[in-house]
């Protein structure tokens, strides 16, 4: 336990001063913040995918919705981004409810839920493409401010780094707690055997729905942070690639483990950025192909993902017992 705390303390301290280590270079801090944002979605996805056993492909929809709502409020109503994050989260949870409630209610098979959540990304993109009062085909730009913490806008990426770090840490803590408590156990039982769980009196629909709402809320917040950071929004923020990336990183990291997905996500996304910087301009898109190949290999030959590997490793390092990692 002691070692756990020390490890967390060191990791936390490193994360807290990381921008300084990067020399406050805007470009590098930007990349790291981006990677952390996407990893946050991966961690939140554990609720619906890892624990709830639903292959949700809606991350792109929720992230995009958070971005558009936050951006719109900032641009057209001068409302602070902080409020925007919250509003975006609510909007995403609302949409998620509209899709999730009937899907879970009718006990639709997994594939139909996966497909409809993917369809949601495209539907929302096109709706906002046509809704010119809010978004439309033209980019909308958020007014520039060098440092306006109340409005939640800054020209310095470090500002966003810390916001994202807070969200990331909070999400990790949240998922950790949920796994331990009743909600987590219920979700696990649903994932392991839905029919049995139902017969035992577990309200399958309610718990899946809760997991979905929490996850979509968080995903939306990452979108809001993103749009404030880059200073504009556009319907192309509804990107199916974010959905696919989230799912594949989560699976590669191991559906049942807590640390597997975030660590895998941080590593692979960093590798991807590195490849993009070095090779990206040489052979266009090659980095994504490599990414795809790595993922297929993991899925086909190590379907449990890297999670168990990391668990074993951490046990060897003396961080926590094997039992606490079991899912």
């Amino acid at each position: 336990m002691e070692k756990n705390r020390i490890f967390t303390a060191i990791a936390g301290a490193a994360a807290a001063v990381f921008p300084l280590i990067l020399g406050l270079n805007e470009y590098y801090v930007f990349l790291v913040t981006l990677i952390m944002l996407y990893t946050t979605i991966v961690v939140a996805w554990q609720l619906i995918g890892g624990l709830g056993g639903q292959l949700d492909l809606g991350a792109g929809a929720y992230h995009g919705l958070g971005a558009i709502v936050t951006g719109y409020l900032m641009v057209y109503h001068g409302i602070s981004g902080w409020v925007g994050l919250f509003a975006g989260g609510l909007a995403a949870a609302g949409v998620a409810f509209i899709i999730g409630y009937p899907s879970f209610r009718f006990g639709l098979k997994e594939v139909w839920y996966a497909l409809s959540s993917l369809a949601l990304v495209l539907i929302l993109q096109k709706i906002f493409l046509l809704w010119t009062d809010v978004a439309g085909p033209l980019e909308r730009y958020i007014p520039y401010a060098a440092f306006d913490p109340i409005f939640m806008r800054s020209g310095y990426k470090t500002f966003y780094y810390y916001i994202t770090l807070a969200l990331f840490a909070a999400t990790l803590a949240l998922v950790y707690r949920i796994r331990k408590n009743k909600l987590g156990l219920y979700l696990q039982s649903i994932r392991d055997n839905e029919e049995a769980a139902e017969m035992l009196g577990v309200d399958v629909r309610k718990y899946k729905l809760i997991a979905l709402l929490v996850y979509s809320f968080i995903a939306a917040m990452t979108g809001g942070i993103y749009t404030s950071m880059v200073g504009f929004y556009h319907p192309t923020l509804f990107d199916s690639w974010i959905s696919i990336q989230t799912v594949t990183l989560s699976i590669a990291g191991g559906l049942g483990s807590l640390w597997g997905p975030p660590i895998t996500s941080l590593i692979l996304l960093t590798v991807q950025e590195y490849l993009r910087i070095t090779l990206g301009a040489v052979i266009i898109g090659l980095h994504q192909v490599i990414f795809g190949i790595i993922l297929i290999f993991i899925i086909l030959f190590r379907p449990e993902g890297l999670g168990p590997l990391l668990d074993t490793l951490s046990v060897r390092l003396g961080l926590g017992s094997k039992a606490s990692k079991e899912m």
Partner: protein, 427 residues
């Protein structure tokens, strides 16, 4: 848990860890941030950033721009670089915008913060160029835009110039040309239809067309928008047919122009004339190659005239063709005169602000002071003259019109400069 000593021990470890990390951080700050902030007093090179779509839907344009930039930079350097800066050479830093706004912004971030460029040329696509300004304006990095939308110079941005004619001028040129052609045949435009893609550039150029028509008292029968990534234009052609136009004005990008041309042919759309605006698609060599004879007799407006008969231009076009095997059009042309104008500005800045010639303010004032009517920059510009208004636009901006005749683009407007007469109407 094991008593007081254990607690203080773990606390001590944590404290040490933090101190170590903080020290590392401090080292990072001092070795990377601070030295970078110091300006080297000796100027040995001018770092020019180029952001273009080298991959993605607009790669066709970005790659042409890149080729042009490399060619001109090499010419400038071979001729001795920037004389008033002690022969400093131009060093190009080329980044791919990946045909997306995010990509352009990321590229700008890298160029400004990592490569520390002095000026950025880019990003061809108007929407992407705007996102770069968020990064460049605060740091006073001059952007020489090769994108056409009017906004860029209308929003009070301080460090931006744009040499090619803006989008609304392209639109107006297309109309003036069309009106002229109809007049030559004793006809008047009565039922124009505008069709354009729904992005920023499409909208603004189409607005330019609409406004010009309106000012001439001509009413637009229909204005049709389509998504940039459309793959099947049959419904669009249907709608055009229903409007029964005598002329269709089109503002496409590249890929959609190919699909449009082919759909016009395969669905047998009969209209007297099809005129493009905006410089992308329909009448350039790449599109002609991809769409085959479907583009025959279509026109488009361009920011560059490859047939301009000035000595330098003729020589440059030949050189470009020899090296890259194709005729330079919009993307390359804009780069030609933009880079040469930069060179002129650098010379002026080197003379007027010897202590900080590459500073944003020095460069901007140098650019504003230029009035070029000779030299390579002016010789590659359609109107032959470059002089910037306070908002960064060229006062003497002019667009030309090329038509596809027998599978080749030829200059048909301005009528006095045309290499060939316009072929009208469509069969």
């Amino acid at each position: 848990m094991y008593g007081k000593s254990a607690v203080t021990k773990s606390t001590a470890i944590i404290v040490v860890a933090i101190i170590v990390i903080a020290a590392a951080a401090a080292v990072g700050v001092f070795t990377v941030v601070l030295p970078g902030a110091q300006q080297t007093p000796q100027v040995s090179e001018v770092r020019v950033g180029l952001v273009e779509p080298l991959s993605g839907s607009y790669a066709v344009f970005g790659n042409e721009a890149k080729q042009a930039a490399e060619l001109i930079a090499e010419e400038i350097n071979a001729a001795g670089g920037i004389k008033n800066l002690g022969g400093a050479k131009i060093k190009l830093f080329i980044e791919d915008s990946k045909s997306s706004a995010d990509g352009a912004r990321l590229a700008a971030e890298k160029l400004v913060n990592v490569d520390r460029v002095n000026v950025i040329i880019g990003a061809f696509i108007s929407a992407h160029t705007l996102t770069m300004l968020d990064v460049t304006e605060p740091k006073k990095i001059v952007v020489m835009a090769d994108a056409l939308v009017d906004y860029l110079t209308a929003r009070g941005f301080k460090y931006i110039v744009r040499l090619p004619p803006k989008a609304s001028v392209h639109g107006a040129t297309a109309v003036d040309f069309a009106v002229g052609v109809f007049k030559q045949n004793n006809l008047k435009i009565q039922r124009p239809v505008i069709v354009h893609f729904d992005g920023l550039f499409g909208e603004v150029t189409a607005d330019g067309i609409y406004t010009r028509l309106r000012d001439l008292g001509i009413k637009v029968v229909d204005r049709i928008k389509y998504p940039t990534d459309i793959t099947d234009m049959a419904p669009i052609i249907e709608r055009i047919k229903n409007a029964n136009p005598d002329i269709v004005f089109a503002v496409p990008y590249y890929a959609d122009s190919i699909i449009l041309a082919k759909a016009v042919k395969s669905l047998g759309l009969k209209v007297q004339f099809i005129a493009g605006a905006g410089g992308t698609g329909l009448a350039d060599p790449e599109t002609i190659k991809a769409a085959g004879d479907a583009t025959e007799l279509m026109t488009n407006t361009y920011s560059y005239d490859p047939f301009l008969p000035t000595p330098y231009n003729k020589q440059l076009v030949q050189k470009f063709q020899n090296k890259y095997g194709k005729l330079p059009t919009e993307a390359a042309g804009i780069i030609f005169y933009t880079l040469w104008t930069l060179k002129e500005a650098l010379e002026v800045s080197g003379k007027n602000s010897p202590s900080n010639p590459l500073d944003g303010d020095s460069l901007m004032s140098a650019l504003m002071s230029l009035d070029l009517s000779s030299g390579p920059a002016a010789e590659t510009y359609p109107s032959g003259r470059i002089r910037l208004a306070p908002n960064g636009d060229n006062i003497y901006a002019q667009a030309v019109v090329l038509q596809v005749q027998n599978g080749k683009p030829v200059l048909v407007y301005p009528f006095e400069k045309a290499t060939n007469p316009v072929i009208f109407p469509r069969p």
